[in-house]
Amino acid sequence: MKRLAWIFPAALLTVAAIAFAQNDPAPVAAKPRAFTGARIFPVSGPVIEDGVLVVSGGRITAVGARASVTIPGDAEVVDCKGKVIMPGLVCTHSHIGAPSGGDMSAPIQPEARVLDSIDIRDNTLARARAGGLTTVNIMPGSGHLISGQTVYLKLRDGRTIEELALKNDDGSLAGGLKMANGTNSIREAPFPGTRGKSAALVRQQFLKARDYQRKIAAAAGDATKLPDRDLGLETLVQVLEGRRVVHHHTHRADDILTVLRLKEEFGFKCVLHHVSDAWKVADEIAAAGVGCSIINLDSPGGKLEARDIDWRNGAELEKRGVITAVHTDDPICDSRWFLRSAALSVRGGMSREKAIESVTLAGARLLGLEQRLGSLEAGKDADFILLNGDPLSNYTRVEQTWADGAKVFDLTRPEDQLMAEGGPGAGSSRLTNTCCFSK
């Protein structure tokens, strides 16, 4: 505990008959649906009063003011007067689904895939849908220099992790690489004991990966000349070639600069995570051209290196044009309060527009998914949420969450309301208090 590793909800393994928190079957509608009359935040453009959103086949086919959108004749029309529609929320840093990465045997384990550990039936996924999340970057913890590969999930209904996983253009599963510096990854041997050693270990490993990359290039496709496969080095080569983004946990100003130095040396793509001291080195962050995935906490501290974390981070980064997302780090901040995290940035001086972007399109950009999601535009995935008020108001509730054109959360369904508000079983990984053999 005092090592300050993230806390994961304990897995409950005692229940023989597992109750699936299954949503109603919500197949992708054969015919289009038109959501009319809502105040629409497309995020990619100005707010639309009395807007219309048309979705079909899991994609958005039209969005705009009522007068400018032709509703297809066969569309099911859903009256959303008095409601707000905005893109499904994108969380760039989450630990839902009881994930794990590397173990305690070594500080550098890029070969560990979080995808092999995720329990997609864990209630944390249902609770995230209740918070309006449709896309998440699920990360292993921050107790390693390199703790493993992250995975980007769409929170659609599905029976396997593969059905939820987002894919790159080449068909591989989309995700990044989790790294960390500062005190979380400083531990007893074989972990580093100092910051200097931490950076040295990482540099040495990337140099190895460069050698490995050179050997592969030198083989020029000749299988007999290829080096033995090394899952860890393969992953780092993806990073060196810009095919895998580094998601780097970092808090203190000097640790942030260490990340930027490594990025400069090895030329990888990088997103800074948490970035407690961002306001102190915002100029350097902007100059490095990296994006930030920040967190807003109700009080600062918890450890020395986070003593100066500040709600102004979003505003200071916005001033300098840094792409800035905010994240839940669920269970650090519950996914159901995700919009509240954006509101805390506004409390700290960020503009409303950028704050709303920070939980949608900015997150999509940092995950390289902005062509597909993060805003309401024709051609993008039909990921959106229906709210009963302003997205940044404390009193607003998420009423519905739609992913790929299918409803995955509806506050009027009792089983969904339970996940949204809490109650018997809602905080467990499964509903542990119901019997038996079915739901």
């Binding site: 600062p300 003593r307 309060w337 509240r340 809490g422 809602a426």
Partner: protein, 405 residues
């Protein structure tokens, strides 16, 4: 001449009396309805002189005027460990919220552990918290005592620095109170058995004290004295109980020993509304944003609305959790309740007059009325909106913060 002028300036600064002008004022009196365009006059004694509509309440010449969109009574955090637990979460430096050398230590006083200079105290003060019921946290079967003080007190040097030096004894039923490493208590039944044994011992000690001749009194025992004070109803037992069976155990103990009971956290109180109501027990509701894990896994954000509907008195607390955020902010917890079925005025009441009533301080704190302590929190909008800022904090008629938080 010059000297006289300086003296006059100094004298007027020292005695500068304070008027708060608010566009919306929540006096938290009567029907809890807000007033529009109201003035609070704070006298030189730190008490409220008068509260009234701006049109009928002229501000005397020379008074300092602070304006605010919204003003309400200074917030009372009904249960926290802030000042014992500190911002850095650093063992042996700022973590004094429980002592794990023994499971039952009612003799531990909060006044001896409190650090009013910890930045966490400043943090909650600048968000509008003016009074805290703080002390030993849930985490041991009997973790120690609690106290009540204002958030402008940085060092406790005289009795009047605290409002109540012995506000209760903190008990934890359920898994949070289990000892580590195979030590007792390790189960619920053992926890209750140990607690009953301690209370019986304390009762016997009390009986001996009362019956014995003056020269045959038993030796003083701080441990049994503290529990004896609870049995004499000088301070409540504050029992942290989240699971319904732990809440039921707390009610059972109260029936057996007749102490004053305050239920703390009480995540599953929604399962036992009728017996809690029948026993007349107040509830200090867990932070709604506390992680739904461990004994709190069945918590619901609708608990405050359900307690209100059932007529059970309750107040909000920031509580204690081991990890970040190092403290919840009671103001934000009230906001979460208001987003889940509790009327806004009731949510504000559970930050002010309700905790004052539960903690026995309603004659001094919790509402804005003549004669009460001039403690106020000022905001630039609805205090419960996340995007609103706290713009000023007043304790005993003195501005203690004008930060925009």
């Amino acid at each position: 001449m010059t000297r006289a002028l300086i003296f006059l300036l100094f004298a007027s600064a020292a005695q500068a009396q304070l008027a708060i002008k608010a566009k919306t004022l929540y006096p938290m009196t009567g029907d809890l309805a807000p007033w529009q365009d109201a003035v609070v006059l704070c006298g030189p004694d730190g008490k409220i002189q008068r509260v009234g509509p701006a049109a009928e309440t002229p501000v005397p010449d020379g008074w300092k005027v602070v304006e605010a969109e919204v003003a309400m009574p200074g917030i009372i955090d009904a249960r926290t460990a802030v000042g014992l637990t500190g911002l850095l979460n650093w063992e042996q430096r700022d973590q004094e919220q429980f002592e794990n050398s023994a499971p039952v230590q009612p003799e531990l006083r909060a006044v001896d552990a409190y650090n009013g200079r910890d930045p966490l105290v400043q943090w909650v003060r600048e968000l509008g918290v003016t009074t805290m019921h703080t002390g030993h946290a849930a985490g041991e079967l009997v973790s120690g005592q609690t106290m009540i003080l204002k958030t402008n007190i940085v060092s406790i040097t005289k009795p009047e620095d605290v409002l109540n030096a012995f506000a209760g004894v903190a008990v934890t039923l359920g898994s949070e109170g289990f000892a580590k490493g195979g030590k007792a208590p390790g189960t619920r039944a053992k926890s209750v058995a140990m607690l009953r044994a301690e209370l019986i011992k304390a009762r016997e000690y009390q009986d001996k004290l009362e019956r014995a001749e003056a020269d045959k009194k038993p030796d003083r025992d701080l441990h049994l004295e503290a529990l004896g004070a609870v049995l004499k109803k000088e301070a409540p037992l504050i029992i942290t109980a989240d699971r319904h069976q732990d809440i039921a155990a707390a009610l059972r103990l109260q029936t057996e020993f007749g102490f004053k009971l305050v239920l703390d956290s009480a995540a599953e109180a929604y399962q036992l509304l009728e017996p809690i109501k029948a026993a007349g027990i107040p509830v200090l509701v867990h932070p709604l944003m506390a992680r739904p894990a461990g004994d709190r896994e069945h918590l619901t954000f609708t608990l405050p609305a359900k307690l209100h509907a059932a007529g059970i008195p309750f107040a909000f607390q920031s509580g204690y959790e081991a990890y970040v955020p190092k403290t919840r902010v009671v103001l934000f917890e009230a906001g979460m309740a208001a987003a889940h079925g509790l009327a806004k005025e009731q949510a504000l009441a559970a930050l002010s007059i309700r905790p004052a009533e539960i903690l026995g301080l309603a004659a001094r704190l919790g509402s804005l009325a003549a004669g009460k302590d001039a403690d106020l929190a000022l905001y630039d909008g609805d205090p419960l909106e996340t995007t609103t800022h706290c713009t000023g904090v007043i304790i005993d008629g003195k501005v203690v913060s004008q930060e925009r938080r």
